[in-house]
């Protein structure tokens, strides 16, 4: 029984969700991503690690076309999700972003109540048929983000009035409330204490059962704990990509080894 589950998981892990080929990104004259190709599997957590400014956020933003909103950004190469080129003209970036959710590096709650923050996505996409259903969605999302107990008595209070770590979890709740198929998380635990971090990691593990999760992190331990695959970026290059266990115990590239053991970064 247990074995069956594992093989099943292995099988589905092989399925590619996101496939990027020769992606290049420029911000004006800055060449931020240099020829990155990577295959991200379904029902897996993939960690992006690398020194600050190496292009992790930039690459993450390519996957849901958030770079479209930066006038200076220019993207080349192909990115496919479920075999469909997301930079194709026929693809509606708005629909794409509903499918590929994102948690940003800096918490950005809307100047609305906590409830309205979480209900924002479900309302826009018409996910709830009534107030009760919406309430249930909001509660579930807040529980998954480990925030419910702290805010259940003040759902009408402004989301901007929460602490930094609470705001970060609010943004996670907001992103999972729309039930995306892919969740991109840019340093989701940077302002969280160990308990909240553990809860978010639990959430990531839970989401992975059904979705594909990509997480950017500066914590090697976190990458090792939550991810099955790890990609190491350095100066815009994807230096190494492989099973997390291999990257952390037996990296091929000397730069990866130096970074993981704390010699560059």
């Amino acid at each position: 029984m247990d074995d069956l589950r594992r093989t099943e998981a292995l099988l589905s892990q092989q399925q590619t969700k996101i496939s990027a080929r020769n992606v290049q990104v420029w911000y004006g004259d800055t060449h931020a991503i240099k020829d990155v190709s990577v295959e991200i599997a379904d029902k897996t957590t993939t960690a992006f690690i690398g020194p600050s400014g190496c292009g992790k956020s930039t690459f993450l933003r390519c996957i849901n076309r958030m770079n479209d909103t930066i006038p200076a950004a220019r993207i080349e190469g192909d990115i496919e999700i479920d075999g469909e080129d997301i930079y194709d003209r026929r693809v509606d970036p708005v629909r794409l972003r509903a499918k590929v959710g994102m948690v940003f590096q800096k918490p950005n709650p809307f100047p609305k109540s906590i409830y309205d923050n979480v209900a924002y996505g479900p309302r826009i996409h018409g996910l709830a048929r009534g107030r009760a259903e919406l309430d249930a969605i909001v509660e579930k999302a807040l529980r998954r983000a480990a925030l419910w107990n702290e805010v259940k008595d003040r759902l009408t209070a402004p989301g901007t009035g929460l602490s930094g770590g609470q705001q970060q979890r609010l943004c996670i709740a907001r992103a999972v409330a729309t039930e995306p198929e892919v969740l991109l998380m840019d340093e989701p635990c940077s302002a969280l204490d160990p308990i909240a971090t553990a809860q978010v990691e639990e959430l990531i593990d839970e989401l992975r059962q059904n979705y594909s999760v990509v997480i950017v992190t500066h914590s090697m331990q976190q990458a090792a704990r939550v991810s099955q695959k790890t990609a190491f970026f350095h100066l815009g290059h994807l230096v190494e990509f492989g099973d997390t266990a291999t990257i952390f115990t037996n990296p091929e590239d000397s730069r990866t080894e130096s970074y993981i053991s704390g010699r560059i970064g």
Binding site: F104, N108, F110, K112, T160
Partner: protein, 485 residues
């Protein structure tokens, strides 16, 4: 010696003081700048300021006080029982005329001393040098004028001597205290502070003065005309012969009605333009449209008034007047609330749009990213995230626009007509508070009659309304900010 010459001399002394102070500071440190507390130019500046400030202050005070003192003593010479304000203005004119005549060589000082009011036609002589007198000069006035001139001349001489002496003394003191340990830099800093504070207080004091004069004249008006009739009267029919009815309500109604229509035009269009510019337009389009819109804001309002009178009014009459294609017959003449309101709205569009554009741009990009990242479209993002976040600022912008609409004059004078009436029909001619202020004060009004003083009461009412609007705007901005930041 004229004040300008004195100022120039004092400046020259100060310049010399600068050079001297600098040199002395350098000498006291043995030529080594590092031995000084401050840079050498600060020592120079310190001496120059010591020369300049007391001297100029003295000059200013003297120039204010001297005419007052001279007129006081001249007035004491005049026989009792005459209207001293009128006579004094005659005396002043004659005295000025005499001084001018001497300066131009039409009269010599001896001739002035020997002048006899009955024998010479002083009026003609002074007329020749460009000073027109209303009536012939009586001997008393001539005497007073001569004394006035003599005292002023002596006063001017002493003024020059005292002021220049003060400048020299200041230089001497500044120079003597100059040594390497003097904290010249800090002293100069303190003077700079005083100067800036002075500039700020001038602005505040002038405002205060304007408000006080408004208040006093308004009170004067209410002594002559009951306040209850002014605020509650529904008829406005001033007549300088007496028996005027000066009720503000028709004017206030016209003001508010026209402003309302103007805002109805300006707020949606201005806001939508701002949203387009800040959220949708490409940098190229934005670079062209934004300056164009702001150019609209630079058009003088009289031009808008002409536009209302000559273009919009006739156009509206053609549409809504008798015999128009719609056959409505709502409008008799081109001047109407609608005409003025539409044109004023057009005038306010750039005002609203450029303020709103700044406010919308100040909404953090992270909020847009958050909304777009959840799969919202741009217009959903604008409606549900950006506008709520920018709302306090936008409300502030609208209230500021309302203040401007209420205070606008030229468009109303030309576009809305002059009839003060309480009517609901926007195609009727009406008038506003500002337009009536103009008409009450232009022409041969006696400024102490209630018909003229009412202008102050009207102005005061406008002032209070705009003040309340502005305070309200600030309050809204504050409360929302507490909630969201």
């Amino acid at each position: 010696m004229s004040a300008l010459v004195i100022v120039l001399i004092v400046c020259a002394i100060a310049a010399a003081g600068f050079v001297l102070g600098r040199a002395r500071a350098l000498a006291s440190a043995g030529g080594d700048i590092r031995g000084l507390h401050s840079l050498p130019s600060y020592y120079g500046l310190n001496v120059a300021l010591a020369a300049l400030l007391p001297a100029l202050l003295l000059l200013a005070l003297w120039s204010i006080a001297q005419p007052l003192l001279v007129e006081r003593s001249v007035a004491a010479m005049l026989p009792d029982g005459v209207d001293s304000a009128l006579v004094m203005s005659d005396v002043r004119r004659v005295a000025d005329g005499l001084a001018l005549a001497v300066a131009q060589g039409a009269l010599s000082p001896q001739e002035v001393a020997a002048l006899d009011a009955d024998a010479t036609d002083l009026r003609a002589t002074l007329g020749d040098v460009g000073v027109a007198l209303g009536s012939a000069v009586t001997p008393e006035i001539l005497d007073a004028a001569r004394t006035h001139r003599a005292m002023s001349a002596t006063g001017d001489l002493w003024r020059a001597i005292v002021v220049i002496a003060a400048a020299l003394a200041g230089t001497a003191v500044g120079w003597s205290v100059t040594n390497s340990a003097l904290r010249a830099r800090n002293l100069v800093e303190r003077v700079a502070l005083a100067l800036l504070a002075f500039a700020a207080s001038v602005a505040i004091l002038t405002t205060l003065g304007i408000v006080l004069s408004l208040i006093f004249n308004t009170l004067e008006f209410f002594r002559l005309y009951p306040a209850s009739e002014f605020f509650l009267g529904t008829t406005w029919s001033p007549s300088f012969g007496g028996g005027s009815e000066l009720g503000i309500l028709p004017l206030l109604w016209g003001t508010l009605y026209i402003s309302f229509i103007a805002l109805l035009v300006a707020v949606p269009i201005g806001l939508f333009a701002a949203i387009y510019l800040s959220e949708y337009a490409s940098p190229g389009v934005r670079g062209i449209v934004k300056p164009l819109l702001e150019m609209l804001a630079g058009i003088p309002t009289i031009v808008y008034g002409l536009f209302a009178l000559l273009t919009v009014g006739p156009l509206l009459v053609e549409l809504f007047g008798n015999g128009g294609p719609l056959g409505l017959g709502w409008m008799d003449g081109g001047t109407a609330v609608m005409t003025a309101g539409l044109v004023m709205g057009i005038m306010l569009i750039p005002f609203v749009s450029s303020l709103s554009d700044d406010i919308i741009n100040a909404v953090p990009q992270a909020l847009r990213d958050g909304s777009l990242g959840l799969g919202a479209t741009r217009s959903e993002t604008v409606r549900q995230v950006i506008l709520p976040a920018a709302l306090p600022g936008i409300v502030g912008a609208v209230l500021l626009a309302a203040s401007r609409a209420i205070g606008e004059t030229m468009i109303v004078v030309l576009g809305a007509g002059a009839a003060a009436r309480l009517s609901m029909n926007p195609f009727d001619a009406m008038t506003t508070v500002t337009a009536k202020i103009v008409s009450q004060l232009t022409g041969d009004a006696d400024f102490s009659s209630p018909e003229a003083l009412v202008a102050f009461a009207l102005g005061m009412t406008l002032f209070v309304i705009t003040l309340v609007l502005n305070v309200f705007a600030l309050w809204i901005v504050r409360t929302y900010r507490e909630q969201y930041d």
